[in-house]
């Protein structure tokens, strides 16, 4: 470590690219970049912005990005099963008290008795796509309340605007949507938030990953990247994830500065960003059991190769887990 730091200023910076979504869940990466933690490690990191979670691992597979951070989807595990990507650290996770994804019931459905997440059984729920994080969230909600995804009708609508449209048009009973959208729908009076996924079913939402080839050929690069990433994670955690005794979130050190960085990177207003900042583990530790559960869930849904060994999708040696 000391060797790396000593070398850094003298040597030209090593180039690396990371694929991210312009969402606050990628906050630590934005912070590491903005505050120069990558440079300190001797890295010149270029951010590639994507609009959908599915594309990030594809870009890592194609070699257009060295690293990726995004939510874990069935598509991700399919790429992992072909040996194209490996999880090397955690990104954000759903935790109680951190409202990321809300279950929202339409007015009509709420009045008809859909008042808590457990009631979603047998209802029509709008999600983005089959194999998405929302799909899994319904899966684990079912695991908790004793129903399967077969017991609900998932309506895949590809993206948020279509989901909202279907919701407003009364085409579905409920929607599982990001916090900003959920709050907007509630504020409009179009629906009622009946719960948050983090409160109901905490899980490992996203991860940092790279290609196995990168680990093999450029291990020092991965180590440097993770070091910078962890520095930013810790800072993020301290600023945004602290709670007081009552369990309410409190502003930590550097709150405003970091919030500005994230708002700039996501081109959103700071107050909107502040309302949906996810929880991260300061040491980038992964919820391994949940990842195993995810793989098994997708396998049971028939969307991921049955022969995939859940352990094989992770290489946690870099975070010492």
């Amino acid at each position: 470590m000391s060797a790396a730091q000593a070398q850094a200023p003298a040597q030209p910076l090593e180039k690396a690219t990371v694929g991210v979504l312009a969402l606050s869940s990628s906050g630590p990466i934005f912070i590491a970049k903005a505050k120069g933690y990558f440079e300190k490690e001797g890295l010149d990191v270029d951010l590639k912005m994507f609009t959908s979670a599915q594309q990030v691992p594809v870009a890592v597979t194609s070699g257009d990005a060295d690293f990726g951070v995004t939510g874990l989807t069935a598509g991700f595990y399919n790429l992992a099963s072909k040996g194209a990507v490996t999880i090397i650290a955690a990104q954000s996770r759903d935790e109680p008290g951190f409202p990321l994804s809300g279950y929202v019931a339409t007015k009509a459905a709420y009045e008809a008795g859909l008042t808590k997440p457990a009631d979603l059984k047998g209802k029509r729920i709008a999600i983005t796509t089959v194999g998405s994080t929302f799909h899994y969230m319904i899966g684990i909600l079912g695991q908790k309340y004793g129903f399967t995804v077969k017991d609900v009708t998932m309506v895949p609508l590809q993206d948020v605007p279509k989901m909202v449209a279907a919701f407003k048009g009364g085409q579905v009973d409920a929607i599982l949507a990001p916090s900003t959208v959920s709050r907007q729908l509630a504020a409009d009076g179009a629906g009622t938030i009946i719960g948050w996924a983090g409160d109901e079913t905490p899980w490992q939402l996203g991860a940092l990953f790279t290609a196995p080839k990168t680990i093999k050929d450029r291990r020092p690069l991965v180590e440097k990247f993770i070091r910078a990433y962890k520095t930013a994670l810790a800072e993020y955690h301290a600023a945004f994830n602290g709670k007081d005794a009552s369990g309410a979130l409190v502003k930590g050190p550097g709150y405003d500065e970091l919030l500005t960085i994230i708002a700039d990177a996501t081109k959103q207003k700071p107050e909107i960003v502040a309302g949906g900042l996810p929880y991260v583990d300061p040491q980038a530790r992964l919820l391994v059991d949940d990842v195993v559960n995810q793989v098994k869930f997708w396998q049971s849904e028939g969307q991921v190769d049955k022969t995939l060994d859940p352990k094989s999708v992770m290489d946690l040696s870099f975070i010492g887990q």
Binding site: A74, N78, A84, V130, L157, K162, A165, V304
Partner: protein
């Protein structure tokens, strides 16, 4: 001056040379095997590239893998299920868009005012991406079939308008004047002169719009479709199952091929006067 019959010294002249044939070309001959050969060659190259490891199976699964995926779809019945759902949407959407487009295209081709209004409106509305409009379609038409018909229909509508309008421009004006001079009523002129005269251009437009309809079935089935080739392809894409994805795409290609063949037959049938 030579005699009138071929027994002529010149016939045996040494320097006589045949008149070079300068015509020919620029006509359509049929080569029924060429296309098959081309497809076969394409498949062979593709499979070969995969076998030799030139293309990673993840990036471009070999045709054999795609074929297996397709066979799987056939045996588990999902092909037919998806195809049935999509065929209906494509047919209804295409017919609606084509009828509307031809109506508007004819109006624009015939009436100067309609054209003056229509050309800029088409220029302005055609480039609106349907993906951006899908939320509005959902609000207006729900998430059932109507919004899918609308997606395909609108996509087909604008190219049909343009193709029809420009096809009408190419109808020879002297034929129209002739018909007018015989007192043919306006409707007969449309039916007997303008429509058949514009047919070549309209059929070429069909070639474009049929393919667009097939493409748009994917966009249409973004709207909460359970079954359909488009929904199938989207799901395979989301799950990064490239062989299944290509199997779905192959089905679309085969549909395109079928429609194209029908159109070629129609052209040979209807345009034999050229």
């Amino acid at each position: 001056m030579p005699d009138s019959l071929p027994v002529n010294p010149l016939v045996n002249g040494v320097s006589a040379q045949p008149v070079r044939f300068r015509g020919g070309g620029f006509t359509v001959k049929r080569h029924p095997w060429a296309a098959l050969a081309a497809f076969a060659a394409l498949l062979a190259v593709w499979e070969g590239a995969s076998r030799l490891g030139l293309a990673s199976p993840l990036f471009l699964p070999p045709p054999s893998a795609v074929g297996r995926a397709l066979a799987g779809m056939v045996t588990d019945g999902s092909l037919w299920l998806n195809l049935k759902a999509s065929l209906g949407r494509i047919a209804v959407g295409w017919v609606l868009g084509t009828l509307g487009g031809m109506l508007v295209g004819f109006a624009m081709g015939i009436f100067s005012t309609a054209r003056a209004v229509g050309v800029p409106l088409v220029s302005a509305f055609f480039p609106i991406p349907k993906i951006a409009l899908l939320p509005l379609f959902i609000l207006w038409f729900g998430i059932g079939e109507p919004s899918k018909f609308a997606t395909i229909g609108f996509g087909v509508f604008f190219p049909t308008v343009i193709a029809t309008c420009s096809a009408i421009d190419s109808v020879p004006r002297n034929l129209i004047r002739m018909a007018q001079s015989f007192g043919l009523p306006w409707r007969s002129i449309l039916r007997s002169i303008v429509l058949p005269g514009a047919l070549p251009g309209i059929l070429a437009g069909f070639r474009i719009t049929a393919s667009i309809a097939l493409i748009l079935v994917v966009a249409a089935e973004m709207i909460g479709a359970e079954y359909g080739i488009g929904a199938f392809v989207l799901m395979a894409g989301n799950l990064m199952q490239t062989d299944t994805l290509l199997a779905g795409v192959l089905v679309l290609s085969l549909m395109g091929l079928a429609i194209g063949t029908v159109l070629s037959l129609l052209e040979r049938r209807l345009l034999n006067w050229r």
